[in-house]
């Protein structure tokens, strides 16, 4: 479970990039975080993961404050950043072994976990090559494998579908559904409204740093009393 409690962040004095954000992502749900460019999505994700420190408020991951118990909080999530261009000089297998060591994955589970994840994403045969030689989609896949290697309860994914081929995208969505079925949490940001509509149990829409809507797709239609697509509703909400 991820609890965001009255969190604010400013990069420039007097201009809040995230303003008093309150949000709770419950166990067993896929939560889609939507918003136009520059709305505060990445800033929020960076605060949840400990990259940025909030000016006000706090964030709890499975009850552990990212400010007061950062290491405990970080043990409880796997994070996929927006850019997969990481550790390019390492071989795929070196990157995964390194992350397995960082997250202290037991030796007996490690081999099986790496094999099943990389075979699912069809990059197993590429593991001996430098990540530098991977295509954008393959880099995205190896980063996802790295984030999931410790089998974390909470998945935090920043634009995870970017660059994935249709099969990998389908597999990831399947994995998300299976993960929440076991009582875990998936929090992800996306620009692809179709994916959000079909995959998410709830969505949150952020605009100019403020949360302008949170709820199910049906609740959104109810609130705006319109029988229309998510795309049109999204545009209407964020244009206000």
């Amino acid at each position: 479970m991820i609890e965001i409690k009255n969190v604010s962040k400013s990069y420039v004095k007097g201009k809040k990039s995230v303003d008093g954000l309150d949000l709770e992502i419950k166990n067993g749900e896929i939560f889609g975080f939507l918003g136009p460019n520059g709305a505060g999505k990445t800033t929020t994700i960076r605060m949840i993961t400990g990259i940025l420190e909030p000016d006000d408020g706090d964030i709890l991951v499975d009850g552990h404050s990212i400010r007061k118990e950062p290491l405990e909080a970080k043990k409880n999530f796997g994070f996929v950043p927006d850019s997969p261009d990481m550790f390019l000089k390492l071989k795929g297998i070196e990157y995964l072994n390194f992350l397995a060591e960082v997250y202290k994955v037991p030796l007996n589970e490690r081999k099986e976990r790496i094999e099943s994840l990389t075979k699912k994403f069809e990059i197993y045969d590429e593991l001996n090559n430098n990540i530098e030689s991977y295509s954008h989609g393959m880099r995205q896949k190896i980063v996802i494998c790295g984030a999931l290697i410790s089998n974390p309860k909470n998945w935090i994914l920043d634009e995870p579908m970017t660059g994935l081929d249709p099969k990998a995208s389908f597999d990831l969505k399947e994995m998300m559904r299976n993960h929440v079925k076991q009582g875990n949490t998936v929090f992800f940001s996306t620009h692809i409204l179709d994916v959000a509509e079909k995959l998410c149990d709830r969505v949150g829409i952020i605009n100019k740093g403020k949360l302008v809507f949170v709820g199910t797709f049906d609740e959104m239609k109810e609130k705006f009393k319109e029988e229309t697509s998510l795309e049109e509703l999204f545009l209407e909400i964020t244009e206000e």
Binding site: R46, I51, L71, I93, L96, E101, Y103, L107, L127
Partner: protein, 550 residues
């Protein structure tokens, strides 16, 4: 268009330097200006002392014009060596190339603009090592306006030919990258090959020098350098035109010599652009899109328990060793420079010099403090070229945020990131001690003591440099080259080394009368304490210190 492209390439690198330092308050700005002014005065001061003594000595034997030849030769040599590294990086390893190729820009315009950047980057160092000494010469010899104009023109025109020649060689070598199966290995081998050529050349020059050198005064040595200038002139006609133009007192001769110099440079540049159009894009496309040889995976999944520290440090080393830019700028200097500098002195000595070495060895036997502090100071000197810690955070670029979201304390990661610098320092120290053992008589106990104290100082300096990189990381860059070249932080290894050498000298002078081991022990304890305090600071402020990483 060429001018515009040049401006954009230059601007993007300057902007990146500004971003590293952010917006500062007026007070900080004033402090920075004072620091720059101090540094500029310091450098000018050193060049002044160096130039004054040589010019004065040469004037006594009516050979003062030799100085001009020598300085122009240094400009040429420095440009050549610098260009080897900068051309590979600026021409091939810059990330914006990818987005440039689809634009409707003519090939020659890209090459021209990139070459302009190469030339302008070289001018910065050429002005310092070339123009300042020539101005000092002009002042000392009361030269007229024509001399100054000629000096400026010579310093600006002479570097162009070596730059385009070396760029062409680099392009020829890189054009093979398209046909190589393993791109990474090729880049590494190409870089090492060019480096080996430079080292072989420098050893060749020293050998040439040492056979001609006698044990007489410096002035005679400089006069002999004139023969070297004459030798190089044979291969590099523009040097002769440059020297003639600057030294001549006749306006007509100066104009004629410059006309020759400009003529050759313009023709060479035109040929260069023509050839480069055929060579550059061949190598560039091979470099950008040439795939590595794919190796199929047969399970290498770790099944042995290891420690996080070991894995983390191994990851740092892999990044350093597999990246040609980092390998050449961060790892190799720690090995090459001590071998090159001390090796030339130790093995290059013959006859009179060997006798001197024996005398020095005997003298050091009687003055143990000088022996120990001398070795420790030499180790400090070589530590200034080890950039591993000073770039530990910057090397990761925008991915440095990784440190902040993994469940490993930041302090632990700081320690792991400092380790490669300490290890490279230890390698450098061992090389120095090995050569010292060969050159002078030194007991095993003293070797151990020198190793211990040098290592303690290296540990302190490594952490201090990491702190600098944490405070001012350079995370936005388009090429790894920017991390090791367009990075003002890299002046700090030099500053710290000089400060530490100063401390060694002052302590040595102040405690000359005491038994040698007492000042050595004081030095060791002082640096140990400083390290403990510094690590305490890093641990206490670990999260605050990472605030620039986002």
């Amino acid at each position: 268009m060429t001018f515009l492209l040049t401006k954009i390439f230059l601007k993007s690198s300057i902007q990146k330097m500004n971003e590293q330092y952010g917006v500062s308050s007026n007070k900080v700005k004033k402090l920075k200006i004072m620091l720059y002014a101090f540094l500029a005065l310091y450098i000018i001061g050193i060049i002044y002392i160096f130039s004054y003594n040589i010019i004065d000595g040469l004037r006594e034997i009516n050979q003062e014009t030799t100085f001009i030849g020598l300085i122009l030769l240094i400009v040429l040599g420095f440009t050549a060596v610098q260009t080897i590294f900068s051309s590979i990086n600026i021409l091939y390893f810059t990330k914006d190339t990818d987005s440039l190729l689809p634009l409707p820009i003519k090939p020659y315009q890209i090459i021209w603009a990139r070459t302009n950047v190469l030339i302008l980057v070289e001018y910065f160092i050429d002005i310092i090592i070339g123009l300042i000494p020539l101005i000092i010469y002009g002042i000392m010899l009361n030269c007229g306006t024509m001399y100054y104009v000629s000096a400026v023109l010579a310093v600006l025109l002479l570097p162009i030919l070596p730059i385009i020649l070396i760029s062409l060689i680099v392009m020829v070598v890189m054009s093979f990258s398209k046909i190589t199966k393993n791109k990474n290995r090729f880049q590494l081998i190409a870089t090492l090959l060019v480096l080996a050529l430079v080292i072989a050349f420098s050893f060749g020059i020293t050998q040439l020098d040492s056979t001609e050198m006698t044990d007489e005064q410096m002035i005679q040595m400089i006069t002999q350098a004139n023969s070297m200038v004459n030798m190089i002139k044979g291969y590099f006609p523009t040097l002769e035109f440059g020297i003639n133009a600057v030294t001549s007192t006749s306006v007509i001769t100066t104009v004629i010599e410059f006309a020759k110099l400009i003529g050759i440079t313009v023709i060479a540049f035109a040929i260069y652009i023509l050839l480069a159009q055929k060579l550059y894009f061949k190598g560039l496309i091979g470099n950008l899109y040439g795939g590595s040889k794919k190796k199929s995976f047969n399970s290498e999944i770790k099944s042995k328990r290891t420690t996080l520290g070991r894995v983390y440090v191994a990851k740092e080393f892999k990044t350093l060793l597999r990246n040609p830019v980092y390998l050449v700028q961060c790892i190799l200097p720690a090995i090459i420079f001590p071998v090159l500098c001390i090796g030339i002195v130790v093995f290059g000595f013959n006859g009179d010099e060997a006798q001197d070495l024996a005398e020095l060895s005997a003298m050091l036997q009687e003055n143990k403090l000088l022996l120990l502090f001398g070795i420790i100071a030499i180790n400090q000197f070589f530590s200034m070229i080890i950039y591993v810690s000073a770039t530990a955070i910057s090397r990761d670029g925008e991915n440095a945020v990784f440190m902040k979201y993994i469940p490993v304390s930041l302090y632990k990661q700081y320690v792991y990131k400092t380790m490669p610098n300490i290890i490279m320092n230890i390698i450098s120290i061992l090389i120095v001690l090995g050569l010292a053992r060969y050159a002078v008589e030194i007991s095993v106990l003293d070797l151990v003591i020198a190793f211990g104290v040098s290592t303690i100082m290296a540990v302190f300096q490594s952490f201090l440099l990491l702190l600098i990189d944490l405070k001012r990381p350079k995370l936005k860059w388009s090429s790894e080259y920017a991390v090791v070249k367009q990075n003002f932080n890299l002046i700090f290894p030099m500053i710290f080394s000089f400060v530490n050498i100063g401390i060694i000298v002052i302590l040595g002078l102040a405690m000359e009368e005491y038994p040698a081991y007492i000042p050595v022990a004081i030095l060791a304890v002082a640096f140990m304490l400083a390290t403990v305090i510094l690590c305490g600071y890093l641990k206490k402020n670990q999260y605050k210190l990472a605030s620039k990483i986002m």
